[in-house]
């Protein structure tokens, strides 16, 4: 699902805007335990199987 979101934002030419868009979407629409699960996956694997943009967005989410 996070990858699907990332693939939507991938057409955004401004990289920073794309990453921010993914993060905003996750914050506004994902329930906290889902976000926590995604962050845990990122922490455990470095974001294995995550789209590059999603990985960056999750990293920022993890930073709070």
């Amino acid at each position: 699902m996070a990858n699907d979101i990332a693939r939507y934002f991938a057409s955004e030419p401004d990289h920073a805007e794309a990453v921010a868009g993914i993060g905003t979407h996750l914050r506004r629409f994902w329930e906290p335990r889902m976000r926590a699960g995604l962050i845990a996956h990122w922490r455990a694997t470095g974001g294995e199987d995550l789209h590059e943009l999603a990985r960056e967005a999750v990293a920022r989410l993890a930073e709070g």
């Binding site: 629409f29 335990r33 889902m34």
Partner: protein, 949 residues
């Protein structure tokens, strides 16, 4: 027969500000220019005798009963076909007119049965009324001449009887079928005395093309076409205006009652969504409300393999509260949640989300819009600023080009389809974008200018290609875009869609749509005048559903087709109150009025009103609830009026999740598929049994009025309130109007809505506030709700659901006219005569390749599961695409659909599932297990009902 409460004025109203003043029987009357003399008289209290005229239909001038005298004119013109003119002096009653009318009536009555006392329309028969009005005292011709009194009745239709012996050949039925419904199923066959009404080519009504909309029955001035319920029950005593509980058109009806018994539903001539028209479901399919399957006693059980125990309301409600508190104590407050219903009223939906947020302290509340129009909410909010369609239905009558994408209005929204077909017959051009050849592509007197028969899953590619043509061929409405839209976002979008990879030629191989045809469609949409887009679940139920909605809004903004009548972006909502359930804060991230839970000011307003602190994080969506149930963190679910075990994708996954929960509470009319996995059953009420409001696809809020007492004792809003009280949270409403008052106080778009105002105006389209005290038929006039419209990038991302050698076909799903969604209501009516099973439609080429013949049992296997359906070979499909409906639980359509979903909203990708077909001779394993499980559950229910009796 017309409604007992309506006074027909003979010819349609004329909408114009110009007026004319004339004299009728010595009185000065002023009417809109173009009004007939008949209507001018009727509006001023003078009823001119008539038989072939009704205000639902254009004047016909055949019965010769409405003749009048006009000073300075020769002869006796028909008042129905004569327009009122300034200075005209009309006399409606003179000795000469009296003689002429009596002569006409004598001829009619000489060939009409004189059985008024036993006739079902006795007392409401227009022929009978006219005989009295003209003073008929004798029939000089006698009754023994040639006549039609032995003509044979046609009782083939389950809902009405055609008795040709009573027909006066006024053609009202034929004209209603043509003008109002647009099916052209009826005709007058023969000539002169031999003229008679015929369904199709002299077929039975059931065997003909008749769609049982009821327009002919309503139009009939005698008892020739009469509802079987009226024949069986006799005349109604009272009429109550209410709103249909089927699709999102939200037709207004008069429920005609005899005590607490519903005699018939008659479409309301004053209904602002339907203008007196109806379809087979809303008009006739009401038997479910009193069906023997209805459960009227609360029931509980500890496990789903135990017998149900009938209990009192108090016991059931206390049990629910105790279980939810126990679960929250053990697993945390976010281990429970609720699902609101798009079939229930706004007030009931509002209360369920309030219960979840305020009494249970979590935002785990969602609604079935999750699986249908959640992408509409997201996409239109992002682009235009409001999660709703932009027009009223009447707007289509001023459209010059209509683009229908991913919708099948003749089946899903039939009353709107009739309006659309009226406009198309007047000359508007039609573009259809759909994988199937839906009826609108070629119907009587309707033919689409372009049918873009795309491959399922390529909506966004096609929409981008349309935009590419508009941008690269200089068809953008630059002035509109410059004035109304964000310039940087438009510049970015224009660069994006102009890229060659978005051209029709490049995308042709992917979409299957001929590039030249697509270019022609784009040019027509951009340059054909007022252009309106209507779309349905064929747009939203995709992995890119939200992207497609935004692409549609982009097209409308780029061509300046927003902010006035005749244009717009119009989502056709599936269920009666999908719009309302979304408006009422059913989504886990939004309070009523689409305001995010993290918005501190908004949240504080609800905290103040509700007296408790509220959570500021989004809750679980329905698919997330299933995942959480399976991982053990979600244990209790209150479901009001939804059947997620049948309607949601990947049935095995859903039922596994339900089975993993400790307390599933189902509030419904029947033991639906979900209730078979429930621990508590709370018997709900039908729309006939409660007060409230529904909001239709055009944002129109209409009253639902109670016409009979709730069968189980409580309306649904009362049940929710009882649960809240048992949880220790005070709710003390005594009438749904008080709930609406609270909604209005907390929701700016509803600020001016009240039951009193609805009573006065009939209905209200939100936003309704001080600026728009009577509502807003057309949105975004002058400016978008968000200020400037925002073009969004809409990259086409092909679905992950790919065809392969193992799954070489694409399955797409939809619904049919006679059945409604999961079928809980319509399967319990005679509508099964038209559709008693879900069939699998496939192209002759695909059938031949697999040795499949029409009617064969076919195994349908996907990556998610397999089921068996009977085949129907149809050239509506393109090779490589198969189709089924999902109205019968045993069909297992959703055993096959996958969990792929829209990236933004989780709306399932029902419309694209890769499958393989094989001829088989027996049901699937799932179907056998489902049958056995159902039999067990019905036995467990039967024991409880026997105990309750």
């Amino acid at each position: 027969m017309l409604s007992i409460a309506e006074n027909d004025r003979g010819t349609p109203a004329v909408k114009t500000t110009a007026t004319v003043t004339l004299e009728i029987d010595g009185r000065q009357v002023t009417v809109p220019e173009g009004t007939s003399v008949m209507r001018a008289a009727a509006e001023n209290g003078t009823a001119i005798p008539k038989l072939c005229a009704t205000e639902m239909l254009d004047a016909f001038g055949s019965c010769r009963l409405c003749l009048v005298e006009i000073e300075g004119r020769k002869g006796y013109p028909a008042s129905c076909t004569t327009p009122a003119a300034a200075g005209m002096k009309v006399r409606t009653q003179t000795p000469a007119l009296g003689r002429l009318r009596r002569n006409v009536m004598e001829l009619y009555i000489s060939d009409h049965p004189l059985d008024c006392l036993t006739c079902p329309t006795n007392g409401h028969c227009e022929l009978q009324d006219m005989a009295g009005a003209v003073g008929l005292r004798e029939v000089r011709y006698g009754y023994d001449g040639a006549n039609h009194r032995d003509a044979v009745k046609d009782a083939s239709n389950p809902y009405f009887t055609f008795d040709p012996s009573k027909c006066i050949v006024c053609s009202r039925c034929v004209r209603a079928c043509d003008e109002v419904q647009g099916t052209f199923a009826l005709t007058i066959q023969g000539r002169g005395f031999g003229s008679s009404v015929s369904a199709g080519q002299n077929e039975s009504f059931l065997g003909s093309e008749c769609v049982s909309c009821g327009a002919c029955v309503q139009a009939c001035p005698t008892a020739t076409l009469t509802e079987n319920s009226l024949i069986a029950l006799g005349q109604a005593q009272r009429s109550v205006v209410t709103t249909c509980a089927y699709c999102g058109v939200g037709c207004s009806f008069r429920a005609e009652m005899k005590g607490e018994e519903l005699v018939r539903m008659v479409p309301n001539l004053d209904g602002q969504a339907n203008h007196g028209h109806s379809c087979v479901k809303g008009r006739f399919a009401l038997g479910y409300a009193t069906h023997r399957d209805r459960i009227t006693t609360p029931m509980i059980r500890r496990r789903i393999d135990e017998a149900w125990q009938p209990v009192s309301w108090e016991t059931a409600i206390n049990h629910v509260a105790a279980e939810f508190r126990r679960i929250q104590a053990a697993h945390g407050r976010h281990s429970v949640g609720g699902i609101t219903s798009s079939r229930c009223t706004n007030e009931e939906t509002y209360l369920v989300q309030k219960l979840v947020r305020a009494a249970l302290g979590t935002n785990n509340v969602d609604t079935c819009a999750r699986v249908c129009h959640s992408p509409t909410g997201y996409g239109l909010k992002q682009t235009l600023g409001e999660s709703a369609g932009t027009q009223d239905f009447d707007s289509v009558m001023q459209a010059d080009v209509v683009l229908v994408i991913g919708a099948n209005p003749t089946d899903g929204h039939p009353v709107f389809a009739s309006r659309l077909k009226q406009r198309l017959r007047q000359g508007a051009r039609l573009i259809v974008i759909d994988p199937r050849r839906i009826d609108l592509v070629r119907a009587p007197h309707v033919q689409a200018a372009h049918h873009l028969k795309l491959r399922p899953g390529t909506n966004v590619a096609v929409l981008n290609a349309l935009a590419h043509v508009i941008v690269t061929e200089g068809l953008v409405d630059d002035a509109f875009v410059a004035a109304r839209c964000e310039a940087p976002a438009f510049a970015k979008w224009r660069t994006f869609v102009a890229q060659e990879r978005n051209s029709p030629e490049t995308l042709q191989a992917e979409t299957g749509v001929d590039a030249a045809e697509l270019r022609a469609a784009a040019r027509l949409y951009a340059t054909g005048g007022n252009a309106a887009i209507y779309y349905g679940l064929g747009v939203t139920e995709h992995s890119q559903g939200s992207t497609a909605v935004m692409a549609i809004a982009n097209l409308a903004m780029a061509t300046g087709n927003l902010g006035r009548v005749g244009v717009g972006v119009n989502p056709l909502r599936g269920q009666n109150n999908v719009q309302g359930s979304c408006d009422m804060g059913s989504f886990p991230h939004e309070f009523p009025g689409y305001r995010h839970v993290s918005d501190t000011a908004v949240r504080q307003s609800f905290e103040t009103a509700w007296g408790v602190p509220l959570h500021d994080e989004p809750g679980l969506r329905i698919p997330n609830m299933f995942e959480a149930a399976l991982d053990g963190s979600f244990k209790g679910l209150y479901i009001e009026g939804e059947d997620i075990a049948q309607s949601d994708p990947n049935t095995l996954h859903v039922t596994a999740a339900l089975s993993a929960m400790e307390c599933v509470v189902v509030q419904d009319l029947f033991l639906n598929e979900t209730a078979k996995y429930a621990h508590v059953f709370l018997p709900g009420s039908s729309f006939l049994e409660k007060d409230g409001t529904f909001t239709n696809a055009e944002r129109r809020i209409s009253r639902v009025r109670k016409v009979m007492a709730p069968k189980a004792g409580y309306a649904d809003w009362e049940i929710t309130q009882l649960i809240a009280q048992a949880l220790g949270y005070p709710m003390r409403y005594t009438h749904p109007s008080q709930i609406m008052d609270e909604i209005a106080a907390l929701t700016p778009t509803f600020a001016g809505v009240s039951f009193d105002r609805l009573e006065r105006l009939g209905s209200i389209q939100w936003p309704c506030n001080d600026a728009q005290p009577e509502g807003t038929p057309t949105m975004h006039v002058g400016a978008f709700v968000r200020g400037k419209g925002k073009f969004m990038l809409t990259e086409y991302v092909p679905t992950a659901e790919k065809v392969t050698a193992r799954f070489p076909l694409l399955l797409t799903t939809g619904r049919i006219l006679s059945q409604y969604n999961v079928g809980a209501q319509t399967r319990r009516t005679p509508n099964v005569l038209w559709h008693d099973e879900d069939r699998l439609d496939l192209h002759p080429h695909d059938a031949e390749e697999r040795g499949i013949r029409d009617g064969d049992w076919v195994g349908v296997e996907s990556r998610a599961g397999d089921t068996v359906l009977r085949a129907r070979i149809s050239d509506r499909l393109q090779p490589g695409v198969v189709y089924t409906t999902f109205h019968f639980p045993g069909s297992g359509a959703n055993v096959v659909t996958t969990e792929n979903s829209d990236w933004a909203t989780n709306c399932p990708e029902y419309k694209v599932t890769a499958v393989q077909l094989t001829r088989v001779s027996q049901p699937s394993d799932w179907q056998r297990r489902h049958q056995a499980f159902t039999e067990t559950q019905l036995e467990l229910l039967g024991a409880a009902r026997a105990a309750a009796d």
